[in-house]
Symmetry: C2
Subunit: 373 residues, 2 copies
Amino acid sequence: MSAGKFQSFHPPQRTLMGPGPSDVNPRVLEALSRPTIGHLDPMFIKMMDELKEMLRYAFQTRNEVTIPISAPGSAGMETAFVNLVEPGDKVIVCCNGVFGKRMVENVQRCGGEAIIVEDPWGRAVDPAKVEAALKANPQAKILAFVHAETSTGALTDAATLAALAHQYDCLTIVDTVTSLAGVPLKVDEWQLDAVYSGTQKCLSCIPGLSPVTFNERAMTKIKNRKTKVQSWFMDMNLMLGYWDGGKRAYHHTAPINPLYGLHEALVILSEEGLENSWARHRTQHLALKAGLDELGLELVVPEPERLPQLNAIRIPAGVDDAPVRKKLLDVYNLEIGAGLGESAGKLWRIGLMGYSANSRNVLYCLSALKTVL
Amino acid sequence: MSAGKFQSFHPPQRTLMGPGPSDVNPRVLEALSRPTIGHLDPMFIKMMDELKEMLRYAFQTRNEVTIPISAPGSAGMETAFVNLVEPGDKVIVCCNGVFGKRMVENVQRCGGEAIIVEDPWGRAVDPAKVEAALKANPQAKILAFVHAETSTGALTDAATLAALAHQYDCLTIVDTVTSLAGVPLKVDEWQLDAVYSGTQKCLSCIPGLSPVTFNERAMTKIKNRKTKVQSWFMDMNLMLGYWDGGKRAYHHTAPINPLYGLHEALVILSEEGLENSWARHRTQHLALKAGLDELGLELVVPEPERLPQLNAIRIPAGVDDAPVRKKLLDVYNLEIGAGLGESAGKLWRIGLMGYSANSRNVLYCLSALKTVL
């Protein structure tokens, strides 16, 4: 078997305004190329400790258990489910887009029973339906929902749902992949129990890591499991020994350089300040919205439930989805997102996440769209 | 909750001669910082196709299913087990170090029954014991073993074990985390069925990805499972749709920049040539061995079973483990590995992996050791 003729890959310089990855801050890209050190090196452990502290700030929590999982957001989701769901557990799952459906799949693969609360795609989760489900299923142990649905751009009221869940003695699993750093997210104030996110959205880091935070209630349930966590790689008990700077018990080998990138992204966030980051996303969203209005393009999600960082637009009648996106990519090096699942071909998703949420991107995107349409 | 005062992290420049990560080639570090593009971008898909082709070369296989898992080697291990083991399956697991033990843990968490074949730490797996176990367990479906034990530096004869397994109608799961690109590994010629590896050893890429290759026999077993794969993230059926350039069905978001790094590492390997890479590891190992002899330091593994890329040394009587490693790190910026598990405190592990396998590292390590001891 011969080696073949391959050359270094030099990617084009795109403008990333899809559902993620977002444009990565050049400081983060530079951090990725810093010299690799060992994962048990005292300097690395110091970096990990800072990273955990900065993640606590981003999540607005004091949870001791706040770490990045060494794998993408979908593994963060699975980490929450495999640790908290035991075979036979009833889990109420809110479905208003692709990621709610994926949660159902996770519950079932853990041997749990998923009770589905459905809402239309493009709308927030309806607390009244959730309360009805909680009432109808007194044995339910967990309520799972997506804070910011990346497939549609709908923002759900996490504080209200968490309060309901606790009223009915349920823990919450909350997907904050797209919300972290883009809209207010207050893990402690809202008492969210097990929360996972991603790095490639409003943190403007590369994809491949999943920050998670688990509170005492969640950790108590995990420590009192009757069965072992089915995943060795995602077992929180093992992961904690690894991320404890004092113990540093070998589990896996952490992805050193991507963690440099996340560290830098969090330094940038702490310099800007969370509130300023939320405000910037909102400001740029309003600018985009004004431009879309002028172009006669309509947002799918009604105003109060709209995410600033993910703008789902109805594709106008008579316009073909793929050729428009192809032209934006080929001619303008501009990526916007297609619809996912049942909304494929029906909508575009314009992301304004992290470093991508700036005036240059907004004006460029509007001009390019105008020319292409 | 305030932002705290954090600054960019600038790691020291270490020389990495532990069990991994190894020194990363500067070309790989540079590749990491290239501009991020979308994971559905046609340019990215082209890069993925090249990556798969180059991995086939590294593994010496024509297996269609040859991809990097978006998580570290331990997730590659789990991917092999969750896909191939169904509840109730008997799996013969060879244990001659830490990673065999981890395989047992994986079998059990999949609901399988592990039949353990034990060999002393620091020795290869004994084919006679394996044959006895295969004979005694006619219902066994899988034989799992580690080609190159990172915890001890022992090389096992994978071709012989695979032939035995097939004779007794078993599939093989083979850990090649430390062997890939460091010693001969011929997946097709040896008929290994499900094989996983890591990127941070002899490929000299960063940690965080796990190349795997599955042959037709393995894929047939997966496609005929009676139960769903318990992990959504690691389900090969879903992953294949994602890594198929034609379909590119959304599964997770691939870690874009680390994959640039792996692509570059594989370009470097194809430039050098596999045989040359194997020979270089052997040459540097012999140079190290000669120097260790002069220092009176003894290798743990007997000659024919010795890995060139991982040299386990008995800590001399009267010498304290930790202070020596600390001095090497603090004064010489040189990392060597400690013993793992039952060999903690008894041995050091000197890695000569990938970019670390060069004369400068060997001579530097020997001089530093001489000074410190």
